[in-house]
């Protein structure tokens, strides 16, 4: 069993090596696999004779040390090479008939007609269905409008026209998937189903890659699922037709889908919405229908794992089935295969995610070993079954290795298996008499402090201080418990199951949830330890009652549905309580951001954790190895060999360290990053270990897209930033200020600089006051005000957003007590290692002109100067004369000629413009919508004629400019092909 575990680790390690090194030589890896395998077999044959001889396997079984050490080393190397080969071979999809290869050979604007089969049950995601299609054939389709009859004889027009379709030869596709997003306004929305053959006609899109620092790479995520293109099925973009409904396919899978649909029907009849969506999520893995607010509350309280159908659910179901069979006195040897069948059917029902497959495999192996095999001990059995599950999943789909869901699922089980017992020992030693009282009071004090003073989590040293506090509380509790003779008031007095549950919670927290949540998501739920104490037992109850109700309702005719209603009526109470609990903790306990640790920091954390938990075992191992090496060293005949081996090890370690250190990116003296925030702008300045922001993007409340939360926060959390030194707002336009609110909730901001008036008393202004403070160039409105008429209400969404964002800024500045400094031309200050000089606006008028009084800044560090232009280029004609080495523009510059003259005279190394076409609803009824959209169309070709590179965030993603050793290096996140 140990041999198998080691070989599994080598296989997974090999895949890890392929990920880290990026090696693509699959042929070489396959050759090395064969060579190492041969090397492993030779010592084995020397010891036991020929593999093909009759006594080979018997001698192997009877020998206690069946595999020689040398063979074992080569077997492990074989598995490392095979793991790397398997991963690389999955990435190699450049053969001619692969879906990706075909798409890449053609233009993005190509109109395709694709025929393929739906290979999975469609999933509801918000307002669309996600449909996974295996393309079988595809052909290019062109439609032209051709004049077929020219009765008038005119050259220019007249006559009869027809649409003529021209299609290319049919191409056969093998490999690669297409993801179709079928929206509600489409006919097939309610008809599309698993196993149908469909025909799609339209343009395909490639998923967005990582456009900003700290952002998710959606293209990589889809590639790991085998998906290479997406298509939106909306009336304007693409059409989907159902061609054929096949009844073929795996019977088992169809059976699982049938059960799933029947249980879903029962849920829809016996539980009202939104509670039904929760039950559908936890029981059937249908996450799509849950209201966004509930999903957010689950994330904040750290209980969203209940929706990712995982080991917990599978174990609950295994326990339920075990209980039912045991109730009828059926022997384990008979019902074990039935449980295994049910668990795998359940994994199919919930969509075969890696977490459920892993859990089904592990539970099955555990039950089968209990029924038929000898007992190897709990920890060893769990590790063995975990290795089998990982090997299976990674062999079938190696790209899962880098998916957070796979890593989280595996590490949760690893944490439970390895850290539960040591955690229980620590708790037993720590929580007795006065130690227990002290630990309880200290924990309560922590939560009371965080609840009463929520801003505490924004303090730069909150997490380091919390870590020190936890160590201190543990140490004092242990000392108090050690000195105490008190026995009746202790952790040991709790029932065994409760001790185990609490220890498991601690194990999961320290070995999975805290480090991996910080690493992957840059957030840490403080409510998670408390909320999970309630959530986990409760979810057990909900899943069990829901499953019984679902099966009774689906398969007992007549009375079944009424019994299900009765059961789910009680379950409804539990679900209500669960949702209420999540809502309560989300409102009570803050959900702070944390700096995302790097991969090497994560490895160091896990090494230290193992040293802390297993120091005595590690010490024993180290002493044993030291003893063995000393013994060999004392033998003169082995000394030379050992020396050579030691030199080899030293060379490997030094080479590895050099390679690692050289791969670390050298920190630049200054980094300026124009983030891709869509419509709006945000420039991040990093220097001397500090960070400042110029503008903070748009929070489009109607579109549900807060760029402050989605772009700025992840960018900051990957930077090891604890606070923002300053935020400079170039104007009060909503696309510059509204994203700041969510940034305030996660980071402490030390100062705000604005050229416009901003009160710090927290008193909102009404719309009348607002339009007198800010001018948007709306002549009609200004005329009305001059005539003494009332401003009325915001005339459109953009106005409303601008007005609300400004008031929100006033409230936030007051709430977080942030000093505000008013700036104007001539002011000079230093932030994040950069000297910032204000060049425009010269003076403050009664009314701040949003499009004319925006800031123009000169940023200087060392020999380099940078310009930040708010959008208004008029001052560049006369007032601004300095030569910028790089120019950042927050919007399409206007007038273009002034901008062009300035940049041509400066001749910078590049220009970065933050621009994206605004959404239709944002510009609805806005008086400048025409000007904004026409500028973007007319400017694009002119930018290309400039003698230096012009980068646009809409095309290049984030644009990063590094000042390093006196030179400037530009990096764009999306490279043009």
């Amino acid at each position: 069993m140990l041999t198998f575990i080691l070989l599994s680790l080598a296989f997974i390690g090999g895949m890890g090596v392929a990920v880290i090194t990026g090696i693509m030589a699959s042929g070489l890896l396959l050759v090395l696999t064969c060579v190492f395998l041969l090397c492993a077999i030779i010592p084995l044959v020397f010891k036991h004779g020929n593999i093909l001889s009759p006594g080979f396997y018997r001698s192997l079984r009877e020998d206690e040390e069946a595999i020689p050490v040398l063979s074992m080393i080569f077997f492990m190397l074989t598995m490392v090479m095979f793991g790397s080969y398997r991963y690389v071979s999955e990435l190699r999809n450049d053969y001619a008939t692969h879906f990706k290869t075909i798409c890449e050979k053609h233009d993005e604007a190509t109109n395709w007609r694709i025929r393929g089969r739906i290979i999975e049950e469609p999933k509801l995601r918000g307002d669309y269905l996600e449909v996974l299609i295996q393309p079988e054939t595809m052909r290019k389709v062109e439609r032209r409008r051709v004049r077929v009859n020219n009765e008038t004889g005119s050259r220019k027009g007249g006559g009869t026209y027809e649409n003529v379709e021209h299609s290319s030869d049919q191409l056969t596709v093998s490999g690669g998937l297409l993801m179709a997003q079928v929206f509600e306004d489409n006919e097939v929305f309610r008809e599309v189903d698993f196993n149908q053959t469909v025909e799609i006609e339209g343009q395909l899109s490639e998923a967005s890659e990582r456009r900003n620092p700290g952002a998710m790479d959606y293209r990589l995520h889809l590639r790991n699922r085998g998906i290479y293109r997406t298509v939106r099925i909306t009336p304007r973009r693409a059409v989907m037709r159902i061609v054929d409904q096949q009844d073929s396919g795996a019977i088992w899978y169809r059976f699982a889908l049938y059960v799933k649909n029947e249980v879903l029907k029962v849920i829809k009849q016996t539980m009202p919405y939104p509670e039904s969506s929760f039950l559908g999520g936890v029981l059937l893995g249908l996450k799509g229908g849950l209201p966004p607010k509930v999903s957010q509350e689950f994330r904040m309280t750290g209980v969203s794992h209940v929706l990712a159908v995982s080991g917990l659910h599978v174990t609950i179901i295994a326990g339920l089935l075990y209980g039912i069979f045991a109730m009828f006195r059926i022997p384990l040897r008979i019902f074990a295969p039935l449980i295994v069948f049910s668990l795998f059917t359940f994994a199919m029902i919930v969509g075969w995610p890696s977490s459920a497959v892993r859990a089904a495999l592990m539970n099955s192996l555990f039950i089968l070993s209990m029924a038929y095999l000898k007992d190897y001990g709990f920890k060893m059995s769990v590790l063995f079954s975990l290795c089998v599950a990982c090997d299976y999943i990674l062999f079938m789909s190696p790209l899962q290795l880098t998916e957070p869901s796979f890593v989280l699922s595996v590490m949760a089980i690893y944490a439970l298996a390895m850290f539960s017992d040591p955690s229980a020992k620590i708790l037993r030693r720590m929580l007795r008499g006065p130690g227990l009282a002290f630990a309880f009071l200290a924990t309560m004090a922590f939560f009371v402090a965080v609840v009463l003073k929520k801003d505490l989590v924004l303090h730069p040293y909150f997490f380091p201080a919390t870590f020190v506090y936890i160590i201190f509380v543990c140490y004092v509790s242990m000392r108090l418990s050690d000195r105490s003779t008190f026995q009746s008031f202790a952790f040991e007095m709790l029932p065994g199951w409760l001790q185990g549950f609490l220890a498991a919670q601690i194990a999961i927290l320290v070995a999975m949830m805290l480090p991996l949540s910080a690493f992957y998501f840059g957030q840490m739920s403080l409510a998670a330890p408390v909320a999970n104490l309630i959530a986990i037992p409760l979810i057990g109850l909900i899943v069990q009652i829901g499953l019984i109700a679902g099966l009774i309702g689906a398969f007992i005719p007549g009375i079944g549905i009424y019994l299900a209603l009765l059961l789910n009526a009680a379950n409804w109470l539990a679900v209500k309580f669960f949702l209420g609990m999540a809502s309560f903790f989300a409102a009570l306990i803050p959900f702070p951001r944390i700096s995302q640790p790097s991969f090497s920091e994560l490895v160091i954390y896990y090494l230290l954790l193992h040293v802390v938990y297993f120091h005595s075992q590690i010490k024993t191992w180290v002493l044993a190895i030291y003893g063995a090496v000393s013994e060999v060293w004392n033998e003169p005949e082995y000394r030379n060999s050992l020396s050579i081996f030691a030199i080899f090890v030293v060379i490997v370690v030094v080479a590895g360290s050099v390679a690692f250190l050289s791969s670390i990116e050298r920190q630049p003296d200054l980094r300026l990053t124009m983030l891709d925030v869509g419509f709006g702008s945000s420039l991040m300045i990093e220097g001397d270990g500090r960070v400042a922001l110029v503008d903070s993007a748009l929070n489009d409340t109607l579109g549900g897209m807060d760029r402050g939360e989605r772009v700025i926060q992840p960018a900051l959390s990957g930077k090891q930033v604890r606070e923002i030194d300053a935020v400079i707002l170039s104007s009060a336009l909503p696309e510059r200020i509204s994203g700041l609110s969510s940034v305030f909730s996660s980071y402490r901001v030390n100062r705000i600089y604005t050229p416009f008036p901003l009160a710090t008393d927290g008193v909102r202004v009404d719309f009348e006051q607002y339009v007198r403070l800010f001018a948007f160039g709306d002549i009609k409105l200004e005329r009305r005000l001059k005539a003494g008429q009332n401003a009325g209400i915001p005339p459109g969404y953009f106005w409303e957003l601008a007005y609300e964002s400004y008031n929100r800024l006033i409230e936030d500045v007051h709430r977080y007590k942030i000093p505000v400094k008013h700036i104007k031309a001539g002011d000079k200050f230093t932030e994040a290692g950069v000297t910032i000089e204000v060049l425009h606006p010269a003076s403050t008028r009664d009314s701040f002109q949003q499009y004319y009084d925006g800031l123009i800044l000169k940023l200087s560090r060392g020999a380099h100067n940078f310009a930040y232009i708010s959008g208004n280029a008029h001052p560049l004609e006369s007032d601004i004369s300095f030569k910028a080495d790089f120019v950042f523009v927050a919007d399409m510059p206007y007038p273009y000629e002034a901008f062009e003259n300035y940049v041509k005279s400066s001749n910078p190394e590049g220009v970065a413009i933050s621009y994206r076409f605004p959404s239709a609803w944002l510009m609805e009824n806005y008086h400048l919508s025409g000007a904004i959209t026409s500028r973007s169309r007319s400017y694009m070709p002119r930018f290309r004629q400039l003698p230096f590179p012009v980068y646009l965030t809409s095309e290049n993603g984030a644009i990063q400019v590094d000042q390093l050793r006196g030179s400037l290096n530009t990096r764009v996140f999306v490279k043009e092909e």
Partner: protein, 55 residues
Amino acid sequence: MQESNDATRFLIVLLVVTLMTGALVLVVKSDFRIRDNVLSNLDYYPHIKIDKGQD
């Protein structure tokens, strides 16, 4: 044997308590009926259609 007895007892108690609580909810909450539930779930997985004739 002890484990299976515990499991059996737990299941029976769970079922009895659930049925009693469920009955109480149905009595107290007059809109907790199949027809009302179906109506409130119209937009939740709309392609899964409920057969007519229930309730």
